[in-house]
Protein backbone atom coordinates (compact mmCIF):
# COMPACT_ATOMS: atom_id res chain seq x y z
CA UNK A 1 0.00 0.00 0.00
CA UNK A 2 1.10 3.56 -0.65
CA UNK A 3 2.01 5.55 2.42
CA UNK A 4 0.85 9.19 2.40
CA UNK A 5 3.94 10.68 4.02
CA UNK A 6 2.53 14.20 4.27
CA UNK A 7 -0.57 13.00 6.09
CA UNK A 8 1.31 10.69 8.45
CA UNK A 9 3.85 13.41 9.21
CA UNK A 10 1.03 15.75 10.21
CA UNK A 11 -0.49 13.09 12.48
CA UNK A 12 2.94 12.54 14.07
CA UNK A 13 3.65 16.27 14.40
CA UNK A 14 6.80 15.82 12.32
CA UNK A 15 7.97 18.01 9.48
CA UNK A 16 10.32 16.68 6.82
CA UNK A 17 12.32 19.49 5.18
CA UNK A 18 11.58 19.74 1.42
CA UNK A 19 15.13 18.81 0.39
CA UNK A 20 14.88 15.54 2.33
CA UNK A 21 11.33 14.70 1.33
CA UNK A 22 12.06 12.62 -1.75
CA UNK A 23 14.55 10.34 -0.09
CA UNK A 24 12.39 10.11 2.98
CA UNK A 25 9.34 9.08 0.99
CA UNK A 26 11.40 6.47 -0.82
CA UNK A 27 12.74 5.01 2.38
CA UNK A 28 9.30 4.97 4.01
CA UNK A 29 7.75 3.22 1.04
CA UNK A 30 10.56 0.65 1.06
CA UNK A 31 9.96 -0.03 4.74
CA UNK A 32 6.20 -0.28 4.27
CA UNK A 33 6.64 -2.66 1.36
CA UNK A 34 8.85 -4.85 3.52
CA UNK A 35 6.63 -5.04 6.59
CA UNK A 36 3.46 -5.60 4.59
CA UNK A 37 4.55 -9.14 3.88
CA UNK A 38 2.55 -11.00 6.51
CA UNK A 39 0.67 -14.27 6.20
CA UNK A 40 -3.09 -14.34 6.11
CA UNK A 41 -4.31 -14.79 9.66
CA UNK A 42 -5.84 -18.15 10.54
CA UNK A 43 -7.74 -16.74 13.51
CA UNK A 44 -9.53 -13.40 13.51
CA UNK A 45 -9.74 -12.38 17.11
CA UNK A 46 -7.14 -11.27 19.60
CA UNK A 47 -8.34 -13.04 22.71
CA UNK A 48 -8.32 -11.53 26.19
CA UNK A 49 -7.15 -14.19 28.59
CA UNK A 50 -8.04 -14.15 32.27
CA UNK A 51 -4.61 -15.69 32.90
CA UNK A 52 -3.03 -12.45 31.65
CA UNK A 53 -4.83 -10.48 34.36
CA UNK A 54 -2.84 -7.85 36.19
CA UNK A 55 -2.85 -7.04 39.89
CA UNK A 56 -4.64 -3.81 40.71
CA UNK A 57 -3.21 -1.08 42.91
CA UNK A 58 -4.72 -0.32 46.35
CA UNK A 59 -6.28 3.15 46.62
CA UNK A 60 -3.64 4.54 49.00
CA UNK A 61 -2.16 8.02 48.77
CA UNK A 62 1.58 8.26 48.08
CA UNK A 63 3.60 11.49 48.27
CA UNK A 64 3.55 13.63 45.16
CA UNK A 65 6.61 15.17 43.56
CA UNK A 66 7.44 18.64 44.82
CA UNK A 67 6.45 21.23 42.25
CA UNK A 68 9.95 22.63 42.07
CA UNK A 69 11.31 19.23 41.03
CA UNK A 70 8.37 18.61 38.74
CA UNK A 71 8.96 21.79 36.77
CA UNK A 72 12.76 21.79 37.01
CA UNK A 73 13.13 20.67 33.39
CA UNK A 74 10.28 22.74 31.95
CA UNK A 75 11.36 24.78 28.90
CA UNK A 76 9.23 27.72 29.98
CA UNK A 77 7.36 28.25 33.21
CA UNK A 78 5.44 30.93 35.05
CA UNK A 79 3.31 31.14 38.18
CA UNK A 80 3.90 27.49 39.02
CA UNK A 81 2.72 26.32 35.61
CA UNK A 82 4.25 25.27 32.34
CA UNK A 83 3.85 27.87 29.58
CA UNK A 84 2.81 26.97 26.03
CA UNK A 85 1.65 29.02 23.03
CA UNK A 86 -1.98 30.08 23.25
CA UNK A 87 -4.33 27.14 22.67
CA UNK A 88 -7.61 29.02 22.23
Amino acid sequence: MKIDVAHVAKLSRLRIPPEQLNQFEQQMQEIVNMVEDLPQPTVDNLSLRESDAMELRPDEVKPSLHRKLLLAGAPKKQAGCVVVPKTL
Binding site: E50, V61, K62, S64, L70, C81, V82, L88
Partner: protein, 485 residues
Protein backbone atom coordinates in the same frame (compact mmCIF):
# COMPACT_ATOMS: atom_id res chain seq x y z
CA UNK B 1 -42.30 20.75 8.57
CA UNK B 2 -42.30 19.36 12.07
CA UNK B 3 -39.05 18.06 13.40
CA UNK B 4 -38.14 15.61 16.08
CA UNK B 5 -35.03 16.37 18.10
CA UNK B 6 -32.82 13.40 18.95
CA UNK B 7 -30.32 13.80 21.77
CA UNK B 8 -27.59 11.55 23.12
CA UNK B 9 -25.44 12.48 26.07
CA UNK B 10 -21.91 11.49 27.09
CA UNK B 11 -21.42 12.27 30.74
CA UNK B 12 -18.00 12.30 32.36
CA UNK B 13 -18.04 11.92 36.14
CA UNK B 14 -14.95 12.30 38.32
CA UNK B 15 -14.75 9.41 40.77
CA UNK B 16 -14.15 10.32 44.41
CA UNK B 17 -11.35 7.83 45.04
CA UNK B 18 -8.49 8.78 47.34
CA UNK B 19 -5.90 8.55 44.59
CA UNK B 20 -5.68 9.12 40.85
CA UNK B 21 -6.41 6.33 38.43
CA UNK B 22 -2.84 5.39 37.46
CA UNK B 23 -0.68 6.71 40.30
CA UNK B 24 -0.77 7.33 44.03
CA UNK B 25 -1.18 11.11 43.84
CA UNK B 26 -4.03 12.56 45.85
CA UNK B 27 -7.29 12.93 43.94
CA UNK B 28 -8.42 16.33 45.25
CA UNK B 29 -9.98 19.50 43.90
CA UNK B 30 -8.74 22.99 44.49
CA UNK B 31 -5.11 22.36 45.33
CA UNK B 32 -2.41 24.83 44.36
CA UNK B 33 -1.36 24.37 40.74
CA UNK B 34 0.89 21.42 39.99
CA UNK B 35 1.04 20.29 43.60
CA UNK B 36 -0.69 16.89 43.26
CA UNK B 37 1.56 15.50 40.55
CA UNK B 38 4.25 12.91 40.09
CA UNK B 39 6.40 11.56 37.25
CA UNK B 40 3.63 9.10 36.26
CA UNK B 41 0.72 11.51 35.86
CA UNK B 42 2.92 14.08 34.15
CA UNK B 43 4.15 11.51 31.64
CA UNK B 44 7.85 11.67 32.42
CA UNK B 45 10.05 9.27 30.44
CA UNK B 46 10.17 5.70 31.72
CA UNK B 47 7.11 5.98 33.95
CA UNK B 48 4.29 3.43 33.91
CA UNK B 49 0.59 3.42 34.92
CA UNK B 50 -0.83 1.17 37.65
CA UNK B 51 -4.62 0.83 37.78
CA UNK B 52 -6.43 1.84 41.00
CA UNK B 53 -8.68 -1.03 42.14
CA UNK B 54 -11.31 1.36 43.55
CA UNK B 55 -11.83 2.84 40.11
CA UNK B 56 -12.83 -0.55 38.76
CA UNK B 57 -15.11 -1.13 41.78
CA UNK B 58 -16.83 2.23 41.35
CA UNK B 59 -17.33 1.75 37.63
CA UNK B 60 -18.88 -1.67 38.17
CA UNK B 61 -21.11 -0.32 40.94
CA UNK B 62 -22.29 2.38 38.55
CA UNK B 63 -22.90 -0.33 35.97
CA UNK B 64 -25.10 -2.24 38.40
CA UNK B 65 -27.01 0.90 39.33
CA UNK B 66 -27.69 1.48 35.63
CA UNK B 67 -28.68 -2.14 34.97
CA UNK B 68 -25.69 -2.81 32.74
CA UNK B 69 -24.04 -6.04 31.71
CA UNK B 70 -20.67 -6.11 33.42
CA UNK B 71 -17.65 -7.20 31.36
CA UNK B 72 -15.73 -9.10 33.97
CA UNK B 73 -12.76 -9.32 31.63
CA UNK B 74 -11.76 -6.15 29.81
CA UNK B 75 -8.77 -4.00 28.92
CA UNK B 76 -7.62 -0.45 28.43
CA UNK B 77 -6.67 1.27 25.19
CA UNK B 78 -4.65 4.31 24.22
CA UNK B 79 -6.39 7.26 22.57
CA UNK B 80 -3.61 9.22 20.86
CA UNK B 81 -3.68 12.98 20.21
CA UNK B 82 -1.47 16.00 20.91
CA UNK B 83 -2.60 18.68 23.34
CA UNK B 84 -0.72 20.45 26.13
CA UNK B 85 -3.10 19.23 28.85
CA UNK B 86 -2.36 15.62 27.90
CA UNK B 87 1.21 14.90 29.08
CA UNK B 88 1.66 11.48 27.50
CA UNK B 89 0.00 12.68 24.26
CA UNK B 90 -2.39 9.80 24.73
CA UNK B 91 -5.26 9.24 27.11
CA UNK B 92 -5.64 5.79 28.62
CA UNK B 93 -9.29 4.89 28.11
CA UNK B 94 -11.35 1.92 26.95
CA UNK B 95 -12.22 1.46 23.31
CA UNK B 96 -13.97 -1.74 22.35
CA UNK B 97 -14.36 -3.63 25.63
CA UNK B 98 -15.83 -1.20 28.19
CA UNK B 99 -16.38 -2.37 31.77
CA UNK B 100 -20.16 -2.02 31.45
CA UNK B 101 -22.63 -2.08 28.55
CA UNK B 102 -26.29 -2.28 27.54
CA UNK B 103 -28.03 -0.77 30.54
CA UNK B 104 -30.87 1.67 31.13
CA UNK B 105 -32.21 4.19 33.59
CA UNK B 106 -35.84 5.12 34.23
CA UNK B 107 -36.15 8.89 34.45
CA UNK B 108 -39.16 10.49 36.17
CA UNK B 109 -40.67 12.91 33.67
CA UNK B 110 -43.63 14.46 35.48
CA UNK B 111 -45.17 15.05 38.89
CA UNK B 112 -47.34 11.99 38.70
CA UNK B 113 -44.24 9.84 38.80
CA UNK B 114 -44.44 8.70 35.17
CA UNK B 115 -41.08 7.50 33.89
CA UNK B 116 -39.23 7.25 30.59
CA UNK B 117 -36.58 4.63 29.94
CA UNK B 118 -33.26 5.91 28.58
CA UNK B 119 -30.78 3.33 27.28
CA UNK B 120 -27.18 3.35 28.50
CA UNK B 121 -24.86 2.19 25.74
CA UNK B 122 -21.76 1.84 27.87
CA UNK B 123 -19.74 2.95 30.88
CA UNK B 124 -15.97 2.95 30.66
CA UNK B 125 -13.05 4.17 32.75
CA UNK B 126 -10.43 6.68 31.65
CA UNK B 127 -8.11 9.37 32.94
CA UNK B 128 -8.85 13.09 33.02
CA UNK B 129 -6.56 15.66 31.38
CA UNK B 130 -5.01 18.72 32.99
CA UNK B 131 -6.32 22.27 32.93
CA UNK B 132 -5.35 25.05 30.54
CA UNK B 133 -5.43 28.51 32.03
CA UNK B 134 -6.01 31.54 29.81
CA UNK B 135 -6.35 35.23 30.36
CA UNK B 136 -6.91 37.88 27.73
CA UNK B 137 -3.99 39.90 29.06
CA UNK B 138 -1.66 36.91 28.77
CA UNK B 139 -0.51 35.96 25.29
CA UNK B 140 0.36 32.38 26.21
CA UNK B 141 -1.46 29.56 27.95
CA UNK B 142 -0.54 28.06 31.32
CA UNK B 143 -0.83 24.35 32.04
CA UNK B 144 -1.82 22.90 35.42
CA UNK B 145 -1.36 19.12 35.54
CA UNK B 146 -3.16 18.54 38.86
CA UNK B 147 -6.22 17.11 37.15
CA UNK B 148 -4.17 14.73 34.97
CA UNK B 149 -4.98 11.21 36.01
CA UNK B 150 -8.12 12.01 37.99
CA UNK B 151 -10.31 8.93 37.40
CA UNK B 152 -13.38 9.33 35.20
CA UNK B 153 -16.23 7.16 34.17
CA UNK B 154 -17.82 8.03 30.88
CA UNK B 155 -21.49 7.15 30.70
CA UNK B 156 -22.84 7.12 27.15
CA UNK B 157 -26.58 7.18 26.62
CA UNK B 158 -28.47 5.84 23.66
CA UNK B 159 -29.99 8.63 21.53
CA UNK B 160 -33.30 8.13 23.35
CA UNK B 161 -33.87 11.70 24.55
CA UNK B 162 -36.29 13.87 22.64
CA UNK B 163 -36.26 17.27 24.33
CA UNK B 164 -34.11 19.59 26.40
CA UNK B 165 -36.36 18.84 29.40
CA UNK B 166 -35.82 15.11 28.88
CA UNK B 167 -32.10 15.74 28.82
CA UNK B 168 -32.12 17.78 32.01
CA UNK B 169 -34.20 15.16 33.80
CA UNK B 170 -31.84 12.43 32.61
CA UNK B 171 -28.77 14.37 33.73
CA UNK B 172 -30.23 15.11 37.15
CA UNK B 173 -31.28 11.50 37.62
CA UNK B 174 -27.90 10.20 36.54
CA UNK B 175 -26.05 12.59 38.81
CA UNK B 176 -28.30 11.71 41.70
CA UNK B 177 -27.71 7.98 41.21
CA UNK B 178 -23.95 8.38 40.98
CA UNK B 179 -23.88 10.49 44.15
CA UNK B 180 -26.11 8.01 45.95
CA UNK B 181 -23.92 5.03 45.25
CA UNK B 182 -20.97 7.08 46.46
CA UNK B 183 -18.83 7.04 43.34
CA UNK B 184 -18.77 10.79 42.76
CA UNK B 185 -19.37 13.90 44.83
CA UNK B 186 -21.31 15.35 41.89
CA UNK B 187 -20.16 18.91 42.57
CA UNK B 188 -20.96 20.65 39.32
CA UNK B 189 -19.15 23.82 40.35
CA UNK B 190 -15.96 21.80 40.78
CA UNK B 191 -16.37 20.15 37.43
CA UNK B 192 -17.07 16.74 38.92
CA UNK B 193 -19.67 16.12 36.23
CA UNK B 194 -19.33 17.32 32.64
CA UNK B 195 -21.17 16.38 29.53
CA UNK B 196 -20.87 16.35 25.79
CA UNK B 197 -24.15 16.75 23.96
CA UNK B 198 -25.00 15.11 20.64
CA UNK B 199 -27.95 16.59 18.76
CA UNK B 200 -29.59 15.70 15.49
CA UNK B 201 -32.99 16.47 14.01
CA UNK B 202 -35.26 14.53 11.67
CA UNK B 203 -38.67 15.00 10.17
CA UNK B 204 -41.36 13.81 12.54
CA UNK B 205 -42.22 10.22 11.84
CA UNK B 206 -38.95 9.44 10.14
CA UNK B 207 -37.18 6.30 11.30
CA UNK B 208 -33.75 7.36 10.09
CA UNK B 209 -31.47 9.40 12.30
CA UNK B 210 -30.26 12.75 11.04
CA UNK B 211 -26.61 13.76 11.00
CA UNK B 212 -25.54 14.65 14.49
CA UNK B 213 -23.32 17.37 15.84
CA UNK B 214 -21.39 17.04 19.06
CA UNK B 215 -21.13 19.94 21.48
CA UNK B 216 -18.33 20.26 24.02
CA UNK B 217 -17.81 22.62 26.95
CA UNK B 218 -21.29 22.13 28.41
CA UNK B 219 -20.73 22.62 32.12
CA UNK B 220 -24.15 22.81 33.74
CA UNK B 221 -27.43 20.97 33.27
CA UNK B 222 -29.33 24.14 32.45
CA UNK B 223 -26.49 24.95 30.06
CA UNK B 224 -27.17 21.60 28.42
CA UNK B 225 -30.79 22.61 27.91
CA UNK B 226 -29.78 25.90 26.34
CA UNK B 227 -27.22 24.18 24.15
CA UNK B 228 -29.78 21.66 22.93
CA UNK B 229 -32.33 24.36 22.17
CA UNK B 230 -29.77 26.43 20.27
CA UNK B 231 -28.31 23.55 18.29
CA UNK B 232 -31.61 21.99 17.33
CA UNK B 233 -32.82 25.37 16.11
CA UNK B 234 -29.56 25.90 14.20
CA UNK B 235 -29.96 22.57 12.44
CA UNK B 236 -33.63 23.09 11.65
CA UNK B 237 -32.96 26.55 10.24
CA UNK B 238 -30.12 25.19 8.17
CA UNK B 239 -32.32 22.46 6.70
CA UNK B 240 -35.19 24.84 6.05
CA UNK B 241 -32.80 27.11 4.19
CA UNK B 242 -31.94 24.20 1.92
CA UNK B 243 -28.62 23.26 3.53
CA UNK B 244 -27.49 19.94 4.99
CA UNK B 245 -26.19 19.30 8.47
CA UNK B 246 -22.58 18.10 8.43
CA UNK B 247 -21.01 16.05 11.19
CA UNK B 248 -19.08 18.52 13.33
CA UNK B 249 -17.75 19.08 16.77
CA UNK B 250 -18.87 22.46 18.07
CA UNK B 251 -17.90 24.39 21.17
CA UNK B 252 -20.74 25.70 23.34
CA UNK B 253 -20.36 29.18 24.80
CA UNK B 254 -22.93 29.52 27.57
CA UNK B 255 -22.24 33.21 28.18
CA UNK B 256 -22.97 34.09 24.58
CA UNK B 257 -25.60 31.40 24.14
CA UNK B 258 -24.13 30.15 20.86
CA UNK B 259 -21.87 27.41 19.63
CA UNK B 260 -18.99 27.65 17.16
CA UNK B 261 -17.29 25.13 14.92
CA UNK B 262 -14.36 23.33 16.56
CA UNK B 263 -13.65 20.53 14.14
CA UNK B 264 -15.27 19.32 10.97
CA UNK B 265 -15.40 15.64 10.10
CA UNK B 266 -12.32 15.99 7.87
CA UNK B 267 -10.32 17.53 10.70
CA UNK B 268 -11.57 14.97 13.15
CA UNK B 269 -8.84 13.42 15.25
CA UNK B 270 -7.51 10.06 14.14
CA UNK B 271 -7.06 8.61 17.62
CA UNK B 272 -5.23 5.50 16.42
CA UNK B 273 -6.65 3.41 19.26
CA UNK B 274 -4.66 0.34 20.24
CA UNK B 275 -4.56 -1.81 23.40
CA UNK B 276 -2.55 -0.27 26.24
CA UNK B 277 0.62 -2.41 26.41
CA UNK B 278 1.63 -1.13 29.86
CA UNK B 279 -1.48 -2.57 31.47
CA UNK B 280 -2.62 -6.16 31.47
CA UNK B 281 -6.07 -7.62 31.27
CA UNK B 282 -8.58 -6.37 33.85
CA UNK B 283 -10.20 -9.45 35.33
CA UNK B 284 -12.71 -9.00 38.15
CA UNK B 285 -13.68 -12.06 40.18
CA UNK B 286 -17.33 -13.08 39.89
CA UNK B 287 -17.70 -12.88 43.65
CA UNK B 288 -16.53 -9.28 43.61
CA UNK B 289 -18.96 -8.34 40.82
CA UNK B 290 -21.80 -9.92 42.80
CA UNK B 291 -20.71 -8.32 46.07
CA UNK B 292 -20.70 -4.88 44.44
CA UNK B 293 -24.24 -5.46 43.18
CA UNK B 294 -25.40 -6.55 46.62
CA UNK B 295 -23.93 -3.38 48.11
CA UNK B 296 -26.20 -1.07 46.08
CA UNK B 297 -28.43 1.11 48.24
CA UNK B 298 -32.04 1.92 47.25
CA UNK B 299 -31.54 4.21 44.28
CA UNK B 300 -32.89 7.78 44.29
CA UNK B 301 -35.68 7.35 41.74
CA UNK B 302 -37.02 4.27 43.46
CA UNK B 303 -36.82 6.14 46.74
CA UNK B 304 -38.58 9.17 45.31
CA UNK B 305 -41.46 7.14 43.93
CA UNK B 306 -41.71 5.28 47.23
CA UNK B 307 -41.92 8.54 49.22
CA UNK B 308 -44.71 9.68 46.92
CA UNK B 309 -46.64 6.45 47.19
CA UNK B 310 -46.07 5.48 50.82
CA UNK B 311 -46.10 8.86 52.49
CA UNK B 312 -48.10 10.90 50.03
CA UNK B 313 -45.36 13.46 49.59
CA UNK B 314 -45.64 15.68 46.52
CA UNK B 315 -42.96 15.00 43.90
CA UNK B 316 -41.16 18.28 44.58
CA UNK B 317 -40.81 17.60 48.32
CA UNK B 318 -39.86 13.97 47.80
CA UNK B 319 -37.28 15.12 45.29
CA UNK B 320 -35.71 17.58 47.73
CA UNK B 321 -35.39 14.90 50.40
CA UNK B 322 -33.99 12.30 48.03
CA UNK B 323 -31.52 14.74 46.54
CA UNK B 324 -29.74 14.84 49.88
CA UNK B 325 -28.95 11.29 50.99
CA UNK B 326 -28.39 12.45 54.55
CA UNK B 327 -31.80 14.07 54.79
CA UNK B 328 -33.41 11.08 53.13
CA UNK B 329 -31.83 8.73 55.65
CA UNK B 330 -32.96 10.99 58.50
CA UNK B 331 -36.48 11.13 57.09
CA UNK B 332 -36.63 7.35 56.85
CA UNK B 333 -35.41 6.97 60.41
CA UNK B 334 -38.25 9.30 61.47
CA UNK B 335 -40.92 7.42 59.54
CA UNK B 336 -39.63 4.17 61.00
CA UNK B 337 -40.37 5.46 64.51
CA UNK B 338 -44.01 5.95 63.52
CA UNK B 339 -44.57 8.61 66.16
CA UNK B 340 -45.25 11.58 63.90
CA UNK B 341 -46.97 12.12 60.55
CA UNK B 342 -44.49 11.81 57.65
CA UNK B 343 -45.71 14.89 55.80
CA UNK B 344 -45.23 17.11 58.84
CA UNK B 345 -41.77 15.68 59.47
CA UNK B 346 -40.90 16.32 55.83
CA UNK B 347 -42.16 19.91 56.05
CA UNK B 348 -39.99 20.61 59.07
CA UNK B 349 -36.94 18.94 57.48
CA UNK B 350 -37.30 20.87 54.25
CA UNK B 351 -38.36 24.07 56.01
CA UNK B 352 -36.78 25.25 59.21
CA UNK B 353 -34.16 22.50 59.52
CA UNK B 354 -32.82 23.17 56.02
CA UNK B 355 -32.92 26.93 56.56
CA UNK B 356 -30.77 26.65 59.69
CA UNK B 357 -28.37 24.19 58.04
CA UNK B 358 -27.92 26.54 55.12
CA UNK B 359 -27.36 29.57 57.36
CA UNK B 360 -24.69 27.82 59.34
CA UNK B 361 -23.25 25.83 56.41
CA UNK B 362 -23.91 22.62 58.32
CA UNK B 363 -24.83 19.13 57.35
CA UNK B 364 -27.28 17.20 59.50
CA UNK B 365 -24.39 15.25 60.97
CA UNK B 366 -22.94 18.50 62.32
CA UNK B 367 -26.03 19.05 64.49
CA UNK B 368 -27.35 17.27 67.57
CA UNK B 369 -30.78 16.70 66.11
CA UNK B 370 -32.08 13.14 66.35
CA UNK B 371 -35.06 11.48 64.63
CA UNK B 372 -36.59 10.86 68.08
CA UNK B 373 -36.23 14.54 68.87
CA UNK B 374 -37.80 15.80 65.68
CA UNK B 375 -40.65 13.31 65.78
CA UNK B 376 -41.26 14.07 69.42
CA UNK B 377 -41.58 17.76 68.66
CA UNK B 378 -43.83 17.22 65.67
CA UNK B 379 -46.06 14.95 67.74
CA UNK B 380 -46.38 17.66 70.40
CA UNK B 381 -47.46 20.17 67.78
CA UNK B 382 -49.91 17.73 66.26
CA UNK B 383 -51.32 17.15 69.76
CA UNK B 384 -51.60 20.90 70.34
CA UNK B 385 -49.22 20.68 73.28
CA UNK B 386 -47.13 23.44 71.76
CA UNK B 387 -47.67 25.95 69.02
CA UNK B 388 -45.89 25.98 65.69
CA UNK B 389 -43.94 29.03 66.78
CA UNK B 390 -42.82 27.33 69.94
CA UNK B 391 -41.76 24.45 67.76
CA UNK B 392 -39.17 26.64 66.04
CA UNK B 393 -37.56 27.42 69.38
CA UNK B 394 -37.57 23.78 70.38
CA UNK B 395 -35.97 22.91 67.06
CA UNK B 396 -33.10 25.31 67.51
CA UNK B 397 -32.39 23.93 70.95
CA UNK B 398 -32.45 20.37 69.61
CA UNK B 399 -30.12 21.23 66.73
CA UNK B 400 -27.63 22.97 68.95
CA UNK B 401 -27.79 20.98 72.16
CA UNK B 402 -29.56 17.74 71.32
CA UNK B 403 -32.01 18.15 74.17
CA UNK B 404 -35.24 16.19 74.22
CA UNK B 405 -38.23 18.30 73.11
CA UNK B 406 -40.18 17.79 76.35
CA UNK B 407 -37.18 19.06 78.26
CA UNK B 408 -36.94 22.21 76.19
CA UNK B 409 -40.64 22.86 76.46
CA UNK B 410 -40.48 22.53 80.21
CA UNK B 411 -37.34 24.64 80.60
CA UNK B 412 -38.61 27.47 78.46
CA UNK B 413 -42.18 27.17 79.51
CA UNK B 414 -43.34 26.72 75.97
CA UNK B 415 -46.24 24.45 76.75
CA UNK B 416 -49.22 25.60 74.84
CA UNK B 417 -52.21 26.18 76.99
CA UNK B 418 -55.10 24.41 75.39
CA UNK B 419 -57.14 24.27 78.53
CA UNK B 420 -60.42 25.79 77.40
CA UNK B 421 -61.27 27.02 80.81
CA UNK B 422 -58.04 28.92 81.34
CA UNK B 423 -58.11 30.36 77.87
CA UNK B 424 -61.74 31.44 78.16
CA UNK B 425 -60.80 33.48 81.17
CA UNK B 426 -58.06 35.18 79.19
CA UNK B 427 -60.43 35.81 76.29
CA UNK B 428 -63.05 37.39 78.53
CA UNK B 429 -60.40 39.58 80.13
CA UNK B 430 -59.14 40.80 76.72
CA UNK B 431 -62.63 41.47 75.43
CA UNK B 432 -63.41 43.43 78.55
CA UNK B 433 -60.27 45.57 78.17
CA UNK B 434 -60.71 46.18 74.46
CA UNK B 435 -64.29 47.31 74.10
CA UNK B 436 -63.29 49.63 71.29
CA UNK B 437 -61.91 46.77 69.27
CA UNK B 438 -65.05 44.76 69.91
CA UNK B 439 -67.11 47.65 68.55
CA UNK B 440 -64.94 47.78 65.45
CA UNK B 441 -65.42 44.09 64.92
CA UNK B 442 -69.20 44.50 65.33
CA UNK B 443 -69.01 47.22 62.72
CA UNK B 444 -67.47 44.77 60.26
CA UNK B 445 -63.72 45.19 60.61
CA UNK B 446 -62.97 41.50 60.77
CA UNK B 447 -59.21 41.79 60.87
CA UNK B 448 -59.50 43.21 64.36
CA UNK B 449 -59.92 39.60 65.40
CA UNK B 450 -56.23 39.08 64.69
CA UNK B 451 -55.40 41.95 67.05
CA UNK B 452 -57.61 40.45 69.74
CA UNK B 453 -55.99 37.03 69.33
CA UNK B 454 -52.61 38.76 69.58
CA UNK B 455 -53.65 40.40 72.83
CA UNK B 456 -54.72 37.04 74.19
CA UNK B 457 -51.35 35.56 73.16
CA UNK B 458 -49.60 38.44 74.96
CA UNK B 459 -51.69 37.92 78.04
CA UNK B 460 -50.93 34.20 78.01
CA UNK B 461 -47.24 34.86 77.47
CA UNK B 462 -47.37 33.30 74.02
CA UNK B 463 -48.57 30.00 75.32
CA UNK B 464 -52.16 30.27 74.34
CA UNK B 465 -53.33 28.05 71.54
CA UNK B 466 -54.11 30.71 68.95
CA UNK B 467 -56.65 28.67 67.02
CA UNK B 468 -58.51 27.86 70.17
CA UNK B 469 -58.36 31.47 71.34
CA UNK B 470 -59.79 32.62 68.05
CA UNK B 471 -62.74 30.28 68.41
CA UNK B 472 -63.27 31.29 72.03
CA UNK B 473 -63.23 35.01 71.18
CA UNK B 474 -65.72 34.50 68.36
CA UNK B 475 -67.93 32.40 70.59
CA UNK B 476 -67.85 34.97 73.39
CA UNK B 477 -68.58 37.88 71.09
CA UNK B 478 -71.40 35.93 69.50
CA UNK B 479 -72.91 35.35 72.89
CA UNK B 480 -72.59 39.07 73.46
CA UNK B 481 -74.63 39.68 70.38
CA UNK B 482 -71.86 40.12 67.80
CA UNK B 483 -72.49 38.36 64.53
CA UNK B 484 -69.90 35.87 63.43
CA UNK B 485 -68.46 37.01 60.16
Amino acid sequence: MNYEIVIGLEVHAELCTATKIYCGCKNAFGAEVNSNCCPVCTGMPGTLPTLNEKVVDYAITAGHALHCKINRISKQDRKNYFYPDLPKAYQISQFDVPLCEDGYVDVIVDDSGATKRVGITRIHIEEDAGKLLHHESFEDTLVDFNRCGVPLIEVVSEPDLRSAQDAKAYLETLRSILVYIGVTDGKMQEGSIRCDVNVSVRPEGSAQLGTRCEMKNVNTFSGAMRAIEYESRRQMELIEAGGTVTQETRRWDDDKGVNVLMRSKEDAHDYRYFPEPDLGVIAVARERVDALKASLPELPNAKLLRYMREWGLPRFDAGLLVENPEKAAFFEACTALGTAPAKAVSNWLLGDVSRILNEKHWSLCDTRLTPEGLCGMVAMIEGSEISNTAGKTVLEEMLLHGKAPAEVVKEKGLGQISDTGALEAVAREVLASNAGAVEQYKAGKTNVLGFLVGQCMKASKGQGNPALLRELLLGLMESMGTPRY
